[in-house]
Symmetry: C2
Subunit: 107 residues, 2 copies
DNA sequence: TACACATATGAGTACATACTCATTGAATAA
DNA sequence: TTATTCAATGAGTATGTACTCATATGTGTA
């Protein structure tokens, strides 16, 4: 059974927000996601699995690559709204609304 | 200190969603929240604490009562949007108190 | 004062989750 | 075939979190 709490919980992690930010509203291969987020391959794969299972992302294979995209592209903007509502509007990036939204840490 | 992932994580729990639903866009005393959610006093208090600390709710004392409200009332609608985007509009959650969040109307 | 009511808090527990490392599988090219 | 690249998976660990029970604190009234 689908569960809203579970879905939202799957959004509430810095690494997964970084992945969502990397994907944006188009799509990305896993390799691209790894490069953009600077997270390890294993960790990206680990998170993509739960994001697949909660329906946040869907996949398409193209040769050796697997492309991920948001199942609902509007989700990207909604997370931006959440960020604004949470009071993050004065963070680093008002001009690039969705960049500072994702406050993921670099390694 | 502020952290979007932490904020969203604090939304991703069924008990806390129930509390948010109970509060709605106005405010409620803890006693009212307990009655509406049918959660234990201790558990409600436990969750309200983390919701206070993440800035989801704010409080006002009135005599022996402490009233809680959403710091940002728009959050209520946004959760409805998330629910719709997640594809819950026809979910079994119709029978539960979470339903009204699920069926929040767009502006 | 004493008492009742409203709410918060500390301790303890069981489970969930994020992460790393090592390995495996799947697709392609030489 | 072998080798290479892309991606997923299993095991192990450490931390986080949701919850319960008992207790404490705050507030108003008799």
């Amino acid at each position: 059974m689908k569960d809203l709490a579970k879905f939202i919980k799957a959004l509430g992690d810095a690494s997964r927000l970084a992945i969502i930010h990397a994907i944006g509203q188009s799509s990305c291969s896993v390799t691209e996601i790894i490069q953009k987020t600077e997270l390890s391959q294993t960790l990206v794969s680990f998170h993509l699995r739960t994001m697949r299972e909660t329906g946040i992302v869907t996949t398409r294979r193209d040769g050796p690559f697997i492309f991920y995209r948001l199942t609902a592209p509007e989700l990207y903007g909604l997370i931006g709204e959440l960020s604004r509502v949470a009071g993050f509007e004065n963070d680093i990036a008002r001009a690039t609304p969705y960049f500072e939204i994702v406050n993921y840490k670099r390694r």
